[in-house]
Amino acid sequence: MIELIKNPNVNFLGKKYIAFVFSGILSVIGIIAIVLIATGHANLGIDFAGGTSIQLKFEKPVVLHDIRLALERGGLKDFDLQDLPTINKILIRVKKSEQELGQGSEKITDILRQGFPENKYVVDSTTVVGPKVGGRLRADAAKAVAFAVIGILIYVAFRFQFKFGIGATIATFHDVLAVLGLFYIMGKEINLILVTALLTIAGYSLTDTVVVFDRIRENLKLKQRESVETVMNSSINEVLSRTIITSTTVLLTSVALFFFGGEVIHDFSLAMIIGVIIGTYSSIFVASPIVLLWGGKRPFAKK
């Protein structure tokens, strides 16, 4: 039998205040990110902000600076450029384009066709989102997050006691905030795909938390004499190798996606990688301590 850790006996709950400080910082960054996103100070994707984005694949390598100059000469204002140099791709984004939708993208492709006659390109993708759709997608994303949180709270409260529901929900929220905050700091684009990743992370991290809670509930019944804190600690230790192994397998696939899955889901896989790590941490260091603090000494006996 290969064992990750032989009979682990770590006092996880003893470190709860260190964990709270660490998680507090992560959450605050996340909350600041949300406020900045809501007030429009973030790198919002085209799907949320509205505008035009075009991805082009050139035959030969291109210098980003040349493209920038060509577009500026062509009278394009207020645009972002990004390149994937290994595959000769560039991404051009024009936010909140005042021009007629559709004409903006044509103008860009025309400028580049004339500016680089000897370097042909194909249009990989064009996305044009009007402000109305952008607003709707933003609202839908917010609704999705809200409903997911409520759904999770209800289910966990139904299967466990309410305080477990609170613990699980706070831990889940913490994970989502942390990933969002880190993405914000990294200057990554906040878009629909990221929201999808966040909700997936929420579901996954909850899975982890539920496993820990399950063991705590079971042990609380068996070991009525011991203090809640001792039972929680031993329960977390008991499921520790499982927690780490399941996270490892998901990490393995997320890393495979990150390196080989192509540029479109690159950020999605990055979010998954960060989310799985943070979700594992939070199910140990955040969810249980909150239940402990919230639940008091021994109100668990009943269930």
């Binding site: 290969i2 409903f147 399941t246 899955g261």
Partner: protein, 540 residues
């Protein structure tokens, strides 16, 4: 005990066979199947989303208010001719959504209320001001979306796209999905063109016409309109003809002073065809009118010989030839340096009819075919590498039990693909990520069980007892952890757009199938091993 296992085994085999049958159309092997198979067995499989096969996803908003405006204009001209035939001298003019009739007297009022019940009188102090009643306006708006949908469907049918999706969304939006379209710009032009064809008389007599410049740059258009706004008669308007210099590519616009009131509109068309002018090798579109249209055209041309009649499409003048003589027979043509494609597309939109109102494009997602191909390739590679990594990890850590978990993993992949194929689910790029994540999560349940079994072994139980109680103790944990993922997947399905819906579908199917493979698949293998001979040692 034995019976139970055989029952479970046959269930597994049956689902695997079903999965393979459903997934077969997605594999190259389907081509080599016998004819009877292709005819009777499922032949659709998993459908690729627009982001993977390339194509267009467009969302349009039908501008219902404009439809009401257009109807108002139509009422105005009918009202004019009615009052004229009744020999009532009145001035009728349309102004946006209002129709003003002067002078205000009872005779006119009565005629209007009798013949135009859908017009509501809103003011009678300074002339009679009418507007289309709220009920009628609402009906026009609702109808406009339906009509636009029908027209778009017509145009796309004639354009020729395989399996287009054209649906209404909400009150006034239309979603058009065109998979595999090679020339997105052309398709967008074809769908989005209002194709409002009008014939209007050129007002060369007014002195403002003589003051108009020969031609201007497109950027000067606004200025010119502002400058002439006060100078031209109330009944007139300025529209532009576009001229492109063939050598330099320079675009100039020629202003034309026209009577606002259209003499004829596109609804009199019966057909439109592409023709070629053999002298100049120019393509043009020839129009045929229906019989009442032909009569009307004869009347208009007869009454205006030596004047110019402009042919206008969507407020752009295409040509304004001088009427040499009365034209009978019901034919006309639109010329204007068209390429063959342009002429063909123009004839399509004219045949399919005008949109009841202009449309605004709200969203346009175009994916080229190469990106989709690259994405599928990348997804395959990531999937294979991820699977291999998980498989090796499980064997390394759990030994023989890891092999059993890997067996469950492959079962999981096969059933997931089969389930998606049986539902003809749409595979999107995030969906591929969902499949790969599901692979990573698939072994979770097995890990839960194995860890439980290890606990039981440590507690001194026999291997068989450890398997059984580990399995039972892990059950509810597995169940709970799956339901939480299903909740988020359901939310994503409800609120997500196309690609994300695809992700939600694969993720939730993956989770559900995972429950099946872990609880039925893995357990059966353990039981089979145990039945052969009581295990002395569990390789876990």
């Amino acid at each position: 005990m034995k019976k139970k296992i055989y029952w479970r085994l046959s269930l597994i085999c049956a689902t695997v066979i079903l999965a393979v049958v459903f997934f077969l159309p997605n594999t190259p092997a389907f081509k080599y199947m016998p004819e009877w198979w292709k005819e009777t067995m499922p032949d659709k499989g998993i459908v690729l989303g627009l982001d993977l096969q390339g194509g267009l996803h467009l969302v349009f908003e039908v501008e219902g208010d404009k439809a009401v405006e257009i109807t108002t204009e139509r009422y105005t001209s009918r009202l004019k001719s009615l009052l004229a035939t009744k020999k009532l001298n009145a001035k009728v003019s349309a102004n946006g959504l209002n129709i003003t009739v002067n002078p205000s007297n009872d005779a006119i009022k009565n005629i209007i209320s009798e013949d135009f019940p859908s017009l509501a009188l809103i003011e009678s102090q300074n002339g009679l001001v009418y507007k289309i009643s709220d009920k009628e306006a609402r009906w026009i708006k609702e109808n406009a979306t339906d009509q636009a949908l029908e027209t778009i469907r017509n145009r796309i049918d004639q354009f020729g796209v395989a399996e287009p999706t054209i649906v209404r969304q909400g009150e006034n939006e239309i979603v058009v999905q065109l998979p595999g379209v090679k020339d997105p710009k052309r398709a967008i032009d074809l769908i989005g063109k209002t194709a409002q064809l009008e014939f209007k008389l050129v007002d060369d007599e007014d002195k403002a016409a003589a003051e108009l410049p020969q031609s201007i740059l497109p950027s000067e258009e606004e200025n010119l309109l502002k400058q002439f706004a006060e100078k031209i008669p109330v009944d007139d308007e300025i529209l532009f003809e576009k001229k492109v210099n063939m050598e330099t590519g320079e675009v100039r616009k020629i202003p034309v002073l026209l009577k606002k009131q259209a003499s004829l509109t596109g609804d009199i068309l019966s057909d439109a065809q592409v023709n070629i002018d053999s002298r100049f090798n120019n393509y043009y579109v020839s129009l045929s009118f229906n019989s009442s249209g032909a009569k009307l055209f004869e009347e208009v041309t007869g009454a205006n010989v030596k004047r110019r009649l402009a042919i206008i499409l969507d407020n752009t003048v295409y040509s304004a030839p001088v009427i040499q003589e009365k034209i009978s027979g019901g034919n006309a043509q639109i010329t204007g340096n068209f390429s063959m494609e342009e002429a063909r597309d123009l004839s399509i939109v004219l045949r399919a009819g005008a949109l009841p109102a202009p449309m605004k494009m709200l969203q346009n997602v175009t994916v080229g075919p190469s990106l989709g191909r690259d994405s599928i390739e990348a997804g395959k590679i990531a999937g294979i590498i991820g699977t291999i990594a998980v498989v090796i990890f499980m064997i390394f850590y759990y030994r023989l039990s890891g092999v059993i978990a890997d067996f469950a993993l492959f079962l999981n992949i096969i059933l997931l693909l089969g389930a998606m194929a049986s539902l003809n689910a749409t595979l999107t790029l995030p969906g591929i990520a969902g499949v790969i994540l599901a692979i990573g999560m698939a072994v979770d349940s097995n890990v839960l069980m194995f860890e439980r079994m290890r606990d039981e072994l440590r507690a001194g139980k026999t291997p068989r007892a450890a398997v059984d109680s580990g399995y039972h103790k892990a059950f509810w944990t597995i169940f709970d952890s799956h339901v939480t993922t299903l909740i988020t997947a359901a939310v994503l399905f409800q609120f997500g757009t196309g690609p994300i819906k695809g992700f939600a579908v694969t993720l939730s199917l993956g989770v559900a199938i995972n429950l099946f493979t872990a609880l039925i698949g893995t357990k059966s293998v353990f039981d089979i091993i145990n039945i052969k001979r009581e295990l002395k040692k569990l390789s876990i």
